[in-house]
């Protein structure tokens, strides 16, 4: 009895299988990238992650650096009292507040909201609440963002607000 199994495959078929595997690999990578985009960081749940904002010497006293934190426009300030970081999405209608050096404030140009650069508190204007503070740490000569001080902050604003 002949029990030998013969399996033949053509070069053409082999090429098609290779191409299929490359396509699967690409699809897997694309899916993983999309999932990473949809669930970017654990900080949204109030957990801590370290995201490097800048080297400390890149932000001299009195200057600022804009950065994105959890998809929201944010700003790092180097004040005489130390580094401070806030989400810069105005708590009024979601415009982006910026550092106004001549007045020493964070300023929202849409409705003239003014915020204290040390605490994020509202100085004047229509914003109903302070800018959300970000916990930061300075180590190894660099400043890292850890998490929102208020873990519920990202749930309270529009998904698109400040998403540059």
């Amino acid at each position: 009895m002949e029990d030998k199994i013969t399996f033949t495959i053509t070069r053409r078929k082999l090429t098609e299988i290779f191409m299929g595997l490359v396509a699967l690999f690409f699809a897997g990578g694309a899916t993983a990238s999309i999932l990473k985009y949809l669930w970017p960081a654990t900080a949204a749940k109030g957990e801590s992650v370290e995201i490097k904002i800048a080297n400390a010497d890149e932000v001299p006293m009195g200057s600022v650096k804009k950065f994105m934190f959890n998809g929201k426009a944010s700003v790092l300030l180097h004040m005489p009292a130390g580094f401070r970081a806030f989400g810069s999405v105005c708590t009024h209608l979601g415009c982006i507040a910026y550092w106004k050096e001549d007045e020493n404030i964070l300023f929202c140009p849409c409705h003239l909201g003014k915020f204290d650069p040390n605490t994020g508190a509202v100085i004047s204007g229509p914003p109903p609440s302070p800018l959300p503070a970000i916990d930061i740490v300075v180590k190894d000569g660099a400043v890292f963002a850890l998490k929102w001080k208020d873990p519920n902050y990202v749930k309270t604003i529009s998904f698109y607000a400040g998403a540059a």
Binding site: R12, T15, F18, M19, S33, K36, I53
Partner: protein, 91 residues
């Protein structure tokens, strides 16, 4: 009414065909390396790095290389391995 079925003949043979197949293998490996590199770059980069111009340009270049590579594979597959197509008419 009749139905036309497009079929391909047997694989091509000869030196050019063998070279084309060897190149297809090499280009497929290159495609795997480029794809892996591309997604590793995307998945492993943190947000500040991923928003730099350099990063976006690098990803664009890798996508362009991948597109070129896949185009070359398809060209070699069609020209190197396939016979000319012919049409069978089924009544």
């Amino acid at each position: 009414m009749h139905i036309e079925k497009i079929e391909y003949g047997h694989e091509k043979t000869g030196l050019w065909s063998q070279i084309a197949f060897a190149l297809i293998i090499l280009l497929t490996l290159a495609a795997v390396v480029i794809t892996g590199n591309l997604f590793w770059k995307i998945l492993s980069s943190d947000a500040p790095t991923a928003s730099t111009r350099t990063f976006i340009e690098d990803v664009g270049k890798l996508l362009a290389y991948l597109l070129f590579d896949l185009g070359a594979i398809i060209y070699l597959y069609v020209k190197g391995l396939l016979q000319d197509e012919y049409v069978t008419t089924l009544e």
